[in-house]
């Protein structure tokens, strides 16, 4: 491998890291907007996805700023677990998994039809897409030595 090659691919790796961060920021602020500004209360599964998305927005900000492509190792487990929860939520939303009957006082239902933004885009699918995009971008950001 020549020096110029590794410099170019180093730039690409940073770009992947940066993209992963941008997706995490967009997803985090989007979730905050829907929850805090629009006032749609998050269901319990949404809370668990938030718990994995919010740290990604911070962690990847520091990593992008420092150009630390080794961060994928720390960020990928967060993205993977988030993806698993979002995947479960999506199946629940799509009706493939039945939702247990819950008393009314326990907050909004995770499978209810109003889990959408702008009335059309279902939030569980958006969340799954965001975690997936972050995971793919993180894998793309791995330094060659780690392959």
């Amino acid at each position: 491998m020549t020096g110029s090659d590794s410099a170019a691919s180093g730039h690409d790796r940073w770009l992947y890291l940066f993209i992963a961060w941008v997706v995490a920021v967009a997803a985090s602020l989007g979730a905050l907007f829907i929850g805090e500004v629009v006032g749609q209360a998050p269901c319990s599964l949404c809370w668990h996805q938030r718990a994995f998305m919010f740290p990604l927005a911070i962690l990847l900000a520091v990593a992008s700023f420092r150009g630390d492509t080794g961060a994928w190792l720390y960020a990928l487990p967060l993205a993977a677990i988030g993806m698993a929860i979002a995947g479960f939520h999506s199946l629940l939303y799509a009706g493939f998994i039945p939702e247990g009957i819950q008393p009314c006082s326990q907050g909004p239902s995770c499978a209810s039809a109003d889990m959408t933004i702008l009335g059309v885009l279902p939030l569980p699918y958006l969340s799954l897409a965001a975690f997936l995009a972050i995971a793919v971008a993180l894998i793309g950001s791995r330094p060659k030595a780690a392959l």
Partner: protein, 217 residues
């Protein structure tokens, strides 16, 4: 441009976009709230509602109120202050939004107190001691009655009155207007027919003051 600058700029732009969207959304909500209130003015003030303050007041504050609601309790002292600042110019119309379990029973205590001319002292007592009776899962209405008694209510008579069908009718009529005006939180305020779009005692005061100054002397 170097990477660090890109990261900082992206972060700042994301926050700016978020703030912009927030302001935009709030403006749209305020516009909508004003339009709803303007198209349904008749739903704001009904003849059956309790009123605090002079009938000749030029400014009418309408409060959609829930006796079990903590925010209504927190709002009560500043609200009294605002009314005290404009004793001849402002009055308060109380509409019931019994959102919590037991709220409807508490409203009936207030209505019973109104029949005995004890509305204000009983209202003050229920709010002051709200933490001991208004648990949202397990309200203890007996404690509320006891506090009403301490405030001067004849509770033997009050409990008989609480069964009156017109109290239930009042609750139901108010619930219809709560729906019509799309009131989802308590307290929700309207001043001379316009919704209070920025929540808080200070914005309410400013709005009442503006309306008082607008009114012909």
């Amino acid at each position: 441009m170097n990477r660090r600058a890109i990261v900082v700029l992206t972060g700042v732009s994301a926050l700016a976009l978020f703030s912009g969207a927030t302001v935009f959304h709030q403006n749209e909500q305020a516009k909508r709230a004003r339009a709803i209130a303007a198209s349904r003015t008749e739903a704001l003030v009904r003849d059956h509602s309790p009123i605090i303050g002079p009938a000749s007041a030029s400014v009418t504050i309408v409060e959609f109120f829930d006796p079990s609601c903590e925010a209504c309790r927190a709002f009560y002292p500043p609200l009294k202050q605002i009314l005290a600042l404009f004793p001849n110019e402002a009055r308060l119309v109380i509409r019931y939004a019994a959102f919590h379990e037991g709220s409807d029973q508490a409203v009936k205590i207030l209505e019973a107190a109104r029949l005995q001319g004890k509305f204000e002292p009983v209202l003050a007592a229920l709010l002051e001691f709200q933490p001991e009776w208004a648990d949202h899962d397990k309200p203890d209405l007996e404690k509320a009655w006891a506090r009403a008694k301490d405030a001067g209510l004849d509770i033997e008579r009050g409990k008989r009155d609480a069964a009156r069908p017109e109290f239930q009718t009042t609750l139901e009529k108010d619930a219809v207007d709560v729906k019509a005006l799309e009131v989802t939180r308590t307290p929700t305020f309207f001043v001379n027919g316009q919704p209070l779009t920025e929540f808080g005692p200070r914005p309410l005061y400013e709005m009442v003051k503006r309306e008082v100054e607008k009114a012909p002397k």
